[in-house]
């Protein structure tokens, strides 16, 4: 007798969110299955991979410096390289220059950078601030205005600044990534606050906060899994947004990814080690239900592309 996989059909479905506009748009979400359970239902869009681009990267570990080369100094060419050579689905532009603890670049200048990047590439753009509540609100307002109609993702909107960022997104028709500290209920609550504000639920993405391998990965894993189960099996409409995993930043700041071979000769080649740290974090979160992965190193992007293709 042939073996039949047991089928557990879900009641609910993840919302399909459109990133970008016109020819540059991509869709994320839309599945009614747990990650890669393709025998149980539909996954119209495979998980998307976004390359992390920093407008002011500062010093990076040698593995990343080597991979980026000259483009490191210019977010536009960096984004184009990611699109053309690495084959990503989206650009995640982090406006690190706006950090009030650092350069504290004005909001308008940052918005200008966003516009340049968004015009130069033909894939969608996700714009993240520095998680400074007030500055992010100011910057995202400027960004929303500057790239009106381009349907970028503004983030991260948190409970404290969701009103400003949400209002800007509503006014200038952008998407929002809503970030909460690793808690199913808090994620849901922020989605309710944003939709009460007038935000369309189909323009929201959940950023449940990412912990890298060894640094809280299990918490993120559990929250993503529970959000996905609530969305699919309890048909809970306020958890049905696609999930974003902000991996690059978290994986590459771990001791294991950034220590040199001199410090820990027994850990082996630091380049391979860093890439594996990022790729393993990403693999785990794909299994947890991430719909949109932000990665740093081209090699981890390549590995994840292959993995997603094999599993889809």
């Amino acid at each position: 007798m042939a073996f039949n996989l047991p089928v557990d059909t879900a009641k609910g479905k993840i919302r399909e969110v459109v990133l970008g506009s016109g020819d540059k748009s991509r869709k994320v979400g839309g599945e009614n299955i747990l990650p890669f359970h393709t025998w149980e239902g539909e996954m119209p869009n495979r998980p998307l991979l976004a390359a992390e681009v920093l407008d002011e990267p500062g010093e990076l570990v040698p593995a990343l410096e080597k991979a980026l080369g000259e483009v490191k100094g210019d977010p536009v060419t960096w984004a184009k390289k990611a699109q053309d050579e690495w084959g990503v689905d989206a650009i995640a532009l982090f406006l690190t220059s706006t950090d009030p603890k650092g350069t504290d670049a004005p909001a308008d200048a940052a918005a200008e950078t966003v516009a340049k990047v968004a015009e130069a590439v033909n894939i969608p753009v996700i714009v993240y601030g520095t998680e400074d509540l007030e500055k992010d609100a100011e910057v995202m307002k400027a960004v929303a205005t500057r790239v009106e109609g381009m349907n970028v993702v503004l983030g991260p909107a948190k409970e404290e600044n969701h009103k400003t960022i949400g209002a800007a997104a509503i006014g200038y028709k952008q998407d929002v990534a809503a970030m909460t500290p690793i808690d199913v209920n808090l994620a849901k609550q922020l989605n309710i606050l944003l939709t009460n504000l007038g935000m369309e639920a189909d323009r929201l993405i959940i950023d449940p906060t990412t912990g890298a391998l060894g640094y809280g990965l299990e918490y993120t894993y559990s929250v993503m899994e529970r959000l996905k189960i609530a969305a699919l099996y309890q048909d809970d409409s306020m958890t049905q947004m696609p999930l974003l995993a902000n991996i690059g930043q978290q994986a590459w700041k771990t001791k294991e990814a950034k220590s040199s071979e001199d410090e820990y000769p027994e850990w082996g080649d630091p380049e391979k080690r860093g890439i594996m740290w990022e790729a393993l974090t990403a693999t785990s979160l794909l299994m947890a239900g991430a719909d949109l992965l932000i990665l740093r190193h081209p090699e981890s992007i390549r590995l994840m592309k292959k993995l997603i293709a094999d599993l889809s």
């Binding site: 199913v184 209920n185 808090l186 609550q189 309710i192 606050l193 809970d236």
Partner: protein
């Protein structure tokens, strides 16, 4: 008009309400859910609650804010006006809310209350006769002779057996000492008082002649904050007098934990015992004075208190209640001589503490379950008592499951900037206009506002939320067109009463910090409710009746408590107040030995669920840290109300603003 009730029609709302003749007009407007601006709480000092009496008779109290000419035109200050007949009252523009369009369309609709009526009480309890657990028996004994030379004590016991069928009696040592002389002085005509329960038949007092016509008992609710007592006539079952006062132990800590800590230090336990006895003694003196009964007529006391209060009253060491695994000294207590506790009422007066269930579910809950008839119903019932701790019981005649969560003192006014208990001048009802954000408040005894009590806080929270002044997280919208919301260095706040209208001559405000504390308290209660239900594999919707007890039970408005998500949204008609269930349970046990033995059955029957060990509690708690709740589907009526208000506001801003 019938039975002293009158009907008031409010215009232009076109809403009517039936109230008692003599009711205050502002109170009536509040009951009818009709908005009248009122910022002094009904003290008659702000002059904002002007209404026009178009038809019917009222009694106006003279007030400088209302001239005689205005009164002649029909004007009245609602808070200073008593209703004498059926009325038609028009709320003029300046006293009204911003938009009238919505109300002119509305059909007249009655506003209904939810307090449990006396008839309903009757139906809830099984049939019972007044048959007190401490009984007086009049005996005429044959004097002893050389042939009948039985000893005095055995002669009394024989009399009880022959006349009343009461056997296996013991006689208290003190009563025994008095017996020989008393029997002979009385000519063998005596009245014996005995504890007459299933476990124990003990003669506690012997008197000359027939005193069976005079017997009273006292029922006492020993609360952490308030102690209430009733003097009962055991012949008629009537309440002869009532009294209540703060538990003087409050000076040693506001909650049970700080009292336990105090009790475990030095002579703290003895101190707390004597202090609570002091409060009870004063209440007894006041009851006796009010009713005119003799101290000697009182035969027993029945006391219901939470586990810690019962321990402190009996001077039992409460220390291990607080330490894991939270073990009380006892949950069942013996009949105890009142004089040994320092209550020297009369010889042979005994006190019975209603049994407790566990460290944090006490005799007050056992008594409440008795009084509210939860043990006698087929309906799935949820009984909630909210004080410093929130205790909850789920069940029916077949099973009872209880838990306790530390809600904190927020609903009693603790941890809230201008919080207070429900005493004179406490704001107990609040409405906030959904268009101009102006408040309408009523205070206890219509005194100038001093602070806000529990029910006022619940009202305020619900109204701030419905008016869109605070969001689901309890955070203020800071850009509303009103100066009532202002930002200080400690966050935002809403000015409920301006300094010139308050008794304290300073603004009475509700701050974001207050709202956080109340949010946590309500979330703890609701999470407790969810855990109780989920541990029985049940859902909120299966609860057929919700009974709410507690100090603020009398004033609390159910729909407001549901709006903020303190109580589940199971339909307002399924939720009822029981008032002071603890006192009523003690009252029943004092009147009936059957009821008293039921308290033991209830305490034994109840299963206690320890929340501190429950892995789901935190999850449910975070989910409840939201108005009304993260899961809005569980609050369909609140959702409907919110949608209605939001569309009204939208229409209003499009139409007029």
């Amino acid at each position: 008009m019938e039975d002293g009730r009158v009907r008031i029609l409010f215009l232009p709302e076109n809403r009517y309400i039936t109230v008692d003749r003599g009711e205050n007009l502002l109170k009536a407007a509040m009951l009818a859910d009709v908005h009248v601006n009122a910022s002094c709480g009904g003290a008659g000092s702000c002059g904002k609650c002007r209404v026009v009496v178009e038809k019917g008779e009222v009694e106006r109290e003279p007030n400088p804010k209302l001239s005689e000419a205005e009164a002649a035109q029909g004007f009245a200050l609602a808070c200073r006006t008593r209703v004498l007949s059926d009325l038609e009252v028009r709320i003029p523009l300046e006293s009204r809310i911003g938009d009238k369009r919505f109300f002119e369309r509305a059909e007249p609709q009655p506003a209904v209350g939810h307090l449990l009526s006396a008839d309903e009480w009757e139906k809830r309890l099984p049939a019972w006769e007044p048959d007190p657990p401490v009984r007086k028996v009049h005996l005429k004994l044959n004097p002893p002779t050389l042939d009948d030379n039985t000893a005095d004590a055995e002669r009394v016991k024989r009399g009880l057996a022959v006349q009343e069928g009461i056997r296996d009696v013991v006689i208290d040592y003190r009563a025994l000492q008095r017996l020989p002389n008393l029997l002979r002085q009385s000519g063998w005509d005596i009245t014996v008082t005995l504890i007459n329960t299933e476990e124990e038949r003990r003669v506690v007092r012997v008197e000359q002649g027939d005193t069976t016509g005079r017997q009273s008992a006292i029922a006492i609710d020993v609360g952490t904050t308030t102690i209430s007592a009733e003097l009962l006539d055991l012949k008629s079952g009537e309440v002869l007098a009532r009294a209540s006062d703060y538990n003087a132990q409050v000076a040693f800590g506001e909650d049970v934990i700080t009292r336990i800590i105090y009790a475990t230090k030095g002579t703290g336990l003895a101190k707390l015992q004597s202090v609570v006895t002091g409060t009870i003694w004063n209440l007894i003196v006041s009851l006796v004075e009010k009713s005119g009964v003799e101290y000697g007529d009182i035969t027993h006391l029945v006391v219901a208190g939470n586990t810690t209060m019962t321990h402190l009253l009996l001077e039992l060491n409460p220390r291990y209640i607080r330490e894991e695994p939270y073990i009380p000294s006892a949950t069942f207590f013996p009949w105890t001589k009142a004089s040994e506790l320092g209550l020297r009422i009369a010889p042979g007066v005994y006190l019975y503490p209603i049994p407790c269930v566990a460290s944090y579910v006490g005799g007050d809950i056992t008594a409440g379950i008795l009084a509210s008839g939860v043990f006698n119903t087929d309906k799935l019932t949820l009984y909630i008592d909210i004080g410093t701790n929130g205790e909850m019981v789920l069940g029916n005649r077949e099973w009872l499951l209880a838990c306790s969560c530390s809600a904190g003192p927020a609903f009693e006014g603790g941890g809230v900037k201008h919080g207070m208990r429900a005493t004179r001048g406490a704001i107990e009802q609040v409405r906030i206009d959904k268009f101009n954000y102006e408040p309408m408040i009523i205070t206890v005894e219509n005194h100038k506002p001093v602070g806000i009590c529990g029910s006022g806080l619940i009202d305020a929270l619900a109204e701030l939320f419905l008016a869109g002044v605070i969001n689901e997280k309890g955070k203020f919208e800071r850009d509303l067109p009103t100066d009532r919301v202002r930002v200080t260095e400690n966050g935002a706040e809403y000015v409920l009463v301006r300094a010139e209208d308050s008794a304290t001559r300073r603004d009475i405000v509700i701050t974001e910090v207050d709202i956080d504390n109340l949010m946590r308290a309500k979330a703890a209660v609701y999470a407790g409710i969810e855990i109780l239900l989920s541990s029985m594999d049940m859902e909120v919707g299966m609860v057929e009746e919700l009974l709410m007890a507690g100090a603020f039970g009398r004033y609390l408005e159910i729909d407001k408590a549901v709006t903020i998500g303190l109580l589940p949204d199971i339909g307002y008609d399924r939720i009822k107040f029981v008032g002071n269930g603890s006192l009523l349970g003690a009252h029943l046990a004092a009147l009936s030995r059957g009821m008293l033995s039921r308290t033991q059955d209830i305490a034994r029957q109840m299963t206690y669920l320890e929340l501190s060990k429950n892995p789901d509690f935190m999850e449910k708690y975070v989910s409840a840290l939201f108005f009304p709740h993260t899961d809005l589907d569980a609050f369909p009526r609140v959702r409907e109300e919110l949608e209605r208000i939001r569309s009204e506001r939208k229409l209003y801003s499009e139409g007029g603003g």
